[in-house]
């Protein structure tokens, strides 16, 4: 059996992922999270007399809290895996990755378990987020002065 021929055969017999469908699901779910968050922000402004700029901060906290709570209650992983990138890209994904790692490693101790593994998945988001922010802010200064 030839390796290259085998590779071709595997490619031919492996069903293709429907990327279009995945993208549409992710777009609709991610968009829905945005709409819900906007609703929460408006609610905060109108019912609790919180300033508009501050309301977004509170909304973000609420979304993170809810995603973490749902993860801890044990059903959020099914939602995340079925909605493709829909729940991963918003803050819900970040919260989910941190909480799930925390839950998983709590038995390995506070330092060697939770401490060392909490940002196992989210670590790269933080690192490249900070590096990205650094370069974009330099770019911002150059362009806008």
């Amino acid at each position: 059996m030839d390796k290259d021929e085998y590779k071709k055969l595997v490619k031919q017999l492996t069903p293709k992922e429907n990327k279009g469908k995945n993208a549409i699901i992710a777009f609709l779910v991610g968009g829905a999270i945005g709409v819900i968050a906007e609703g929460i922000a408006n609610l905060l402004v109108h019912c609790f007399a919180i300033a508009k700029t501050e309301s977004y901060l509170w909304t973000c906290l609420i979304v993170i809290f809810v995603a973490s709570l749902f993860t801890a209650l044990g059903f959020f992983d099914n939602w995340v895996s079925k909605t493709k990138a829909g729940l991963i890209l918003p803050t819900t994904g970040f919260a989910h990755s941190v909480t799930s790692a925390g839950l998983d490693y709590k038995r390995d101790g506070l330092i060697t378990g939770i401490g060392a593994n909490l940002f196992k998945l989210a670590g790269s988001v933080i690192l490249y987020g900070i590096i990205g922010a650094f370069f974009f802010s330099i770019l911002g200064v150059i362009i806008y002065g």
Binding site: T14, D77, S81, H96, S100, L103, D104, L121
Partner: protein, 324 residues
């Protein structure tokens, strides 16, 4: 020669525990089923250790063989095979821990058969287990993390299986075995195990047929474990185009545990898959007299996958004969 023939090795008894999802799948009848993944323990690791312990305890008790077992051969998927060692410390039985991923049970059968046929030992227990959530943590993501999976992924089965291998005659004879080489066909996708392990299955299968001068029709059933649905298609296509073998009597253990409605993508995987199907489906059906097991294992770790190395695989073949 990598193929061995045995004259005097038999399977006396077996005991299986299946997880909560598995017991609602295609095979409804196992010796024991678990209601939840914790199995009355605090961690999943402890649950799997307990599963193995219950299997050995039951085998010893049912057959009244507490002091008669010469060796325990088995393994699991955890780092440093801790689960097997931690369960074996509860018994005064010498242990040989073995690892060849999902081919672990076949490897232990093969070793036990060789020792017993050589006359060095009389009775052995072979055993393996896997736990979906321990495997997820070992090979994939934290347990509660819901990563989107593609259709080629397999779902690690939860369960533990043990068998007593002996030189006393019984209905099931271990007749021959072929030890496989490690092969690497440059497959790098750890979520497509079927494609990784198929070349190993083909290699050992052809070697087995050539060594023993048999053809594929000699066997009533050829049970591979666990290539999954997509892997099975690749296996059949490869055998047809490269060796002109039209495999009709094939069954894959990965496709026999879960129902399609249970959403397990390409099927079941894990070292326990093959023995669960063998002891609870194949050997319960009197129509299968000559059985060929081809157990396949993918020999990667998280590190080798992260470093983008291609995944080697192994397969061992074991021929069983069932007397009426």
């Amino acid at each position: 020669m990598a193929s061995l023939k045995f004259d005097n090795v038999y399977i006396k008894d077996s005991f299986s525990i299946a997880g909560p999802l598995e017991s609602e799948g295609k095979i409804r009848k196992y010796d024991l089923t678990m209601d939840d993944y914790y199995y009355q323990e605090k961690t999943f690791l402890d649950a799997e250790i307990r599963m193995q312990k219950v299997v050995i305890d039951n085998l010893l008790y049912k057959n009244k063989m507490a002091k008669k077992i010469d060796v325990l051969i088995g393994g699991d998927l955890s780092n440093q095979m801790t689960i097997t060692s931690f369960s074996a410390k509860n018994f005064e039985i010498p242990l040989l821990g073995v690892y060849s991923a999902c081919a672990t049970f076949a490897e232990s059968l093969l070793l036990a058969a060789t020792m017993i046929d050589g006359g060095k030992m009389k009775n052995a227990i072979t055993m393996t287990s896997s736990h979906n959530l321990n495997a997820e943590r070992q090979f994939r993501f934290p347990i509660e993390y819901g990563a989107p999976k593609n259709g080629t992924t397999t779902f690690t089965a939860t369960g533990a299986v043990g068998a007593i291998i002996t030189n006393e005659e019984s209905k099931i004879k271990i007749e021959a075995a072929t030890i496989g080489n490690v092969v690497d066909f440059d497959q790098k996708d750890a979520s497509h195990m079927g494609a990784v392990m198929t070349p190993a299955a083909i290699e050992v299968f052809i070697k087995h047929l050539n060594d023993l001068k048999r053809n594929a029709e000699y066997y009533d059933v050829i049970l591979t474990g666990d290539l999954g649905a997509i892997g099975s298609t690749i296996l059949k296509e490869c055998l047809k185009t490269n060796y002109g073998i039209n495999l009709k009597n094939h069954m894959d253990a990965g496709c026999e545990i879960f129902l399609e409605s249970q959403e397990v993508y390409s099927g079941s995987s894990g070292p326990v898959t093959l023995p669960l199907v063998l002891f609870n489906k194949i050997l319960k059906n009197p129509k299968y007299k000559r059985i060929l097991l081809i157990a396949t294992g993918s020999l990667h770790s998280k590190d080798t996958t992260n470093q983008k190395k291609s995944i080697p695989s192994i397969a061992h073949a074991i021929s069983l004969e069932v007397k009426a």
